[in-house]
């Protein structure tokens, strides 16, 4: 199969977590053996210079994946701007989504997921499901093995999509992980947020050249 993949993140490709996820996902999708003969083309919404091409390819392709970060509980404003420019299709095209976010629990992404089904209808396309997973904020702040740990599981999801052409399987559903964390996990994470978590954000900020405390109030 040939898949048109649109990275709906407003963040430039180099720094986009969605892009790093797609690297792994497409690796699984087009893997030797199971993915033999599969092909894909990928475009970035963050690059407005590509919009005309994306639109053309959108109308030409019938097997589409839109991968996107959750932005304030739904789709990013920039992706919305692009989608607003599309005409309704009446030719049996199908869209599946990879929805990823910063917060870790499945429940955080459900409101966004619900909209994607409605969106697909409004675009005149068939809905092929959404691969839902959080806990991806760290991709940009990590490298090597630490990054691989977050992104590598998407390879298996690429293989799964290659088999089914959708994200409806139990395997894809289970990929989300817990809807909410059990109380004892929340308790432990809560302590971690106040200690090691804070430190790691402070460290990241320092490496970005930040000299102010992260809870600084510029407008007080």
């Amino acid at each position: 199969m040939h898949v048109l993949i649109i990275n709906g993140s407003p963040r430039v490709k180099k720094y986009s977590n969605t892009d790093k996820i797609l690297e792994r996902f497409t690796g699984g999708l087009c893997e030797e053996g199971s993915g033999e003969g599969n092909t894909f083309e990928q475009y970035e919404i963050s690059d407005k210079g590509q919009w005309d091409t994306i639109r053309e390819e959108y109308y030409r392709n019938s097997n589409i994946i839109i991968a996107l970060p959750l932005f304030v509980e739904c789709i990013p404003g920039l992706l919305m701007e692009f989608l607003e420019s599309l005409k309704v299709r009446e030719d049996n095209a199908a869209i599946a989504y990879i929805l990823q976010s910063g917060f870790a629990e499945g429940v955080q992404l459900r409101c966004g997921e619900t909209y994607l089904e409605e969106l697909t209808k409004r675009l005149g396309c068939e809905y092929r499901g959404t691969l839902v997973k959080g806990s991806n904020f760290g991709i940009r702040l990590t490298e090597g093995k630490a990054r691989d740990k977050i992104t590598a599981p998407y390879e298996e999801m690429g293989r799964e999509f290659s088999k089914t052409g959708n994200f409806f399987s139990d395997k894809c559903r289970a990929f989300t992980g817990p809807e909410v964390f059990p109380a004892f996990v929340r308790f432990l994470l809560g302590i971690m947020f106040k200690t090691a978590g804070r430190k790691s954000f402070d460290k990241a900020a320092k490496s970005w050249g930040c000299t102010l405390p992260l809870d600084y109030r510029p407008y007080d």
Binding site: F71, L78, M80, E81, L212, L214
Partner: protein, 168 residues
């Protein structure tokens, strides 16, 4: 203070709201954002990790942000597209991130970012156009949850009286 951000070109809506709020003695600040230069969020994260609380994009959004931290309520007026807010409306929410810090905590059973300022503004939404209202209600509640506040509800632009009744 009630902050109203009108991202549409329908200034008649804000005019009507002002009539009602003035009559009721409610203090409002209105931004006609339809005429302002407001970009989308580019997800650079500078407002969290490089210049805490300050957006890297230098456009008209900053004056709105500076008023948001003093507001008791934030109301956005937006046109709809594809059953949701159009991009102009959504951009107002995406650019709000400097009001939160990078730091995390649990609120109830879910992760949230720790707020940068003490004030908590409740959120209301007025839409113009076709949309799934139940969905917008749900979404608006989720938005408020992220800022440790309440949803004031979602209203069609023909229900301004009802909307204004929720302003205080």
């Amino acid at each position: 203070m009630i902050l109203i951000v009108n991202t549409t070109s329908e200034t008649a809506v804000t005019k009507k709201i002002k009539e009602y709020t003035d009559a009721a003695g409610i203090e409002t600040e209105i931004f006609e954002a339809g005429e302002m230069d407001i970009s989308h969020c580019i997800g650079c994260n500078h407002c969290w990790l490089k210049t805490p609380g300050v957006c890297a994009i230098k456009d008209d959004y900053e004056i709105i942000l500076k008023r948001m931290i003093h507001a008791d309520q934030i109301w956005v007026i937006s046109d709809t597209a594809l059953g949701f807010l159009n991009h102009r409306g959504k951009n107002i929410y995406d650019r709000i991130l400097p009001l939160a810090t990078m730091y995390l905590q649990f609120k109830g059973d879910q992760m949230r970012h720790i707020a940068r300022y003490d004030k908590r503004a409740d959120f209301g939404l007025i839409y113009i156009g076709d949309c799934d209202r139940d969905y917008l209600e749900r979404w608006n509640k989720r938005v408020a949850l992220n800022f440790e506040s309440e949803s004031l509800g979602v209203f069609d632009h023909k229900e301004l009286k009802e909307a204004v009744a929720c302003m205080y």
